[in-house]
Each structure stands twice: as C-alpha cells, then as structure tokens.
Symmetry: C2
Subunit: 226 residues, 2 copies
C-alpha cells in the first residue's frame, strides 16, 4: 500500500467529438465554452468525470445534457494528457467520438449551450488541443467505418442509398460509382427497402431503406468491409 502514497492526483475530463450528417455534409457539434479560461471560445463538449461514474458514463451524461439523446454510439478516441494542456491545472482528457442522427437532438438543449454544427472542413480554431482531437477523430472514424457499418448511426431511420453514398464519400474523402455502390450496399443484407420514395433530389425518386436491425447487430461480431 505504501506505493500509493504521494502519487499525484489529477482532474479527469471527457470531451466528445459529435459527428452528424446533414445536407450532404459531415458535421461536428461545437459549443461556446461556458467557463474560464477561454470562456466564449469554441470548444468540444466536455465535463469532468464524477466520483461515481466511469469515463464512459461521463461521456454519455455529457452527451445527454447537450443533445437529449441516450444510447448514442460512443467510442473511445484517445487520451490527452500533456501536463500543460489545460493552463489552469493538470487535466487528463478522455476523448470520445459520437455518431448521432443530426435530426434527433433537441434544439432547445443545443441552444442552451450555444452549440452549433460545423461542416467538417470548416472547423474554427478551438481551445486547448481540441483541434487535434477533431483531426484524430476524423481519421479514426474513417478506419473504423472501413470494417464496421457504423455510419448508419448518423442516418435517420429512413434513408436513401444516394444519401448513404454521400456520407461514405464524405467520410472517406472520395467519390464512388453510384451503380456499383447501390449494388454493393444492397447485397449486404443490412438494408430493407421500403415502398416510399424520396423525390427531393430527382424526378424518378430514390427508394427509402431502413436498417435490418438483426443483421446489423450480428455484423458487429464480424469484420465486415462495406
């Protein structure tokens, strides 16, 4: 037990990189920081890890406070622990990235925090090392999505294949053939076609699909390249 004595103790925070997809663009949710230092600067949404919770739970709590959403897709990104990253006091931050359906969050809460969605390529200067966190999150999202069908987490319940394709293209920073994409994605068995069509982007209209939740759940056990 002696070794525990005199070891330094630190503040531990969580910061969330919240991804959403809207209007054909991959976006990130940022808040105007409400406390000193750097008050009123843009920042990631975060909070301290409380005495009775794990970092995961803290991230979920923060996310719920900001968006009203529960059961959000959350994944550990990295630990940020430069001794001087927070000028007030040493704080280790656990970074998480979250994928949410951008149309489901509660506007009221967002307003309370003076939060705004920023297109991924138009992120402003953020406090501390938050810009680095965003860059790493983007990269990790890309790798993760190459083996796991997680991007559906950012789409509404009903979505079209062209919509899904745009999201893929945004995440991977690439263009792909529409015909091949359509076939590839329908062949996975993850999608169920609905009768309804979305005619907002073409006269012909694109069928809406929904996730096949059973296949989706199972796919998380496997390596699946989509």
């Amino acid at each position: 037990m002696k070794e525990y004595v005199n070891q330094p103790h630190y503040l531990v925070a969580v910061d969330c990189i919240v991804f959403g997809f809207d209007d054909g663009q991959l976006k990130i949710l940022l808040v105007k920081r409400g406390l000193e230092p750097e008050i009123n600067k843009w920042s990631l949404m975060g909070g301290f890890v409380g005495a009775e919770e794990t970092p995961d739970e803290a991230a979920n709590r923060v996310l719920k406070k900001l968006t009203g959403l529960e059961g959000v897709y959350l994944e550990l990104l990295n630990i940020y622990g430069e001794p001087d990253r927070d000028p007030i006091e040493r704080t280790l931050s656990v970074g998480y990235f979250a994928l949410i359906d951008i149309h489901k969050y509660e506007t009221q809460l967002i307003d309370n925090y003076h939060a705004e969605w920023f297109p991924i390529n138009e992120i402003p200067k953020l406090i501390f090392d938050h810009n680095r966190m965003v860059a790493e999150a983007r990269k990790k999202l890309k790798f993760k999505a190459s083996l796991h069908p997680i991007l559906f987490e950012m789409l509404p319940k009903k979505f079209t294949i062209p919509q899904l394709q745009t999201l893929f293209e945004q995440v991977n920073d690439t263009k792909m053939d529409t015909g091949n994409f359509s076939r590839k994605v329908t062949s996975t068995g993850l999608l169920i076609r609905l009768e309804e069509k979305d005619k907002s982007n073409s006269k012909k209209g694109a069928y809406y699909f929904k996730l096949n939740k059973k296949s989706y759940a199972e796919s998380f056990n496997d390596l699946l390249s989509l």
Copy 2:
C-alpha cells in the same frame, strides 16, 4: 475558473499488455505484483502517471523499466475507470498494448520483476480487471492487424515467411494456405529477401526476409489489408 473547484482528483495509472511471439506461440508478459494489495499475484506491468509525463510517456517508461527496450510499438487500448476497480483508492488505468521482439528484451530486468511469458491461451487469473484488459487487447490486436502491418513488430529483424504465417494464424485464430500466404505477403513489397535460409524446420530451408523499412513506413498512411 470556478468550475474547476471541488472537482474530484484521481490517481491515473498505465498498464501494459506486452505481446511477443516465440516458439510458434503468441505470448504475453506478466509480472508478479510487488505492492499491496494483491502482492505476489500475477498482473500486467504498470505504474502511475507522473506529474511531468503523458500517459504515453508513462507507458514507455514502464516498458523500458521492464524490458530495457525503447521505441516499442505501443497503442492505446482502452481506459479502465470503474470507481471501485482498485480497492484501495479510485484509480483510472490507461491500458496500452505493446508489440515487442521477444528475443530483444533484457533477461536481467525481467528477472528483477519476476516476470514471465505466458502463451495467450494459458493466461492465469490476474488482479483487478487485468484479465478483461488482456481479452480486449487480443481482440484489438486482431482488428488492427487486419488493416495495418503491425505484426512485424513482434518478429526479429530476419524472419521467414512460415514464421510470419504462424504469427498471423495465432493472432487471427485461423489456418491459411502456405502457398497463397507466401505469394500474398511477398506481393506487398514490404519484404526484402535475403540470401540466407533458415533450415531449422525443413531440409529445403526457408529464405529469411527483412522489412523494407521505407514501404513499411509509408504503409502506415494507408489502409492496407495484409
């Protein structure tokens, strides 16, 4: 600044899951814990994060202390933060997995810590949540290795293709065709064949290869499925 007041502070530790490959087996390095509680039980090698270092640096320091090695492949695994995971005092632990060339560590140091290599399928009961960490590390290694050529980190400078194949099979818990494996791996451009052969496993002998360091470095920018 007011918000920083009265936030709880915690101990922050690192724990390393050290993988090595020897005798055709994937192994993990464990130590006999030297402090209370649970003294003399098997455990991962760990230590507290010092005031002047990041968790990464702490992990590197711990690893050097144990093996004498520097510049080891280290990657964040997860953060373990159950409020009661350490019975003495709340301690958050940052788990790392490390890949080392098992023949390069310094025996003397290992002896000092009463450390031993355990085949991956014969891990004893460990303290706290360390068994869970090992399980997660194994899974993460598999996923990571499916897109990045990191397994070379566990091989000596000179290695044969059958050796590499055995390592792959161990990590992925599978068997593959020797002919196809050989072609696949040589076609990546990551390997340079040497003149020398290893005749310890066959009369014909298997060529030694070394890493093409340039291609190897570049490959880390891409998604590469090996």
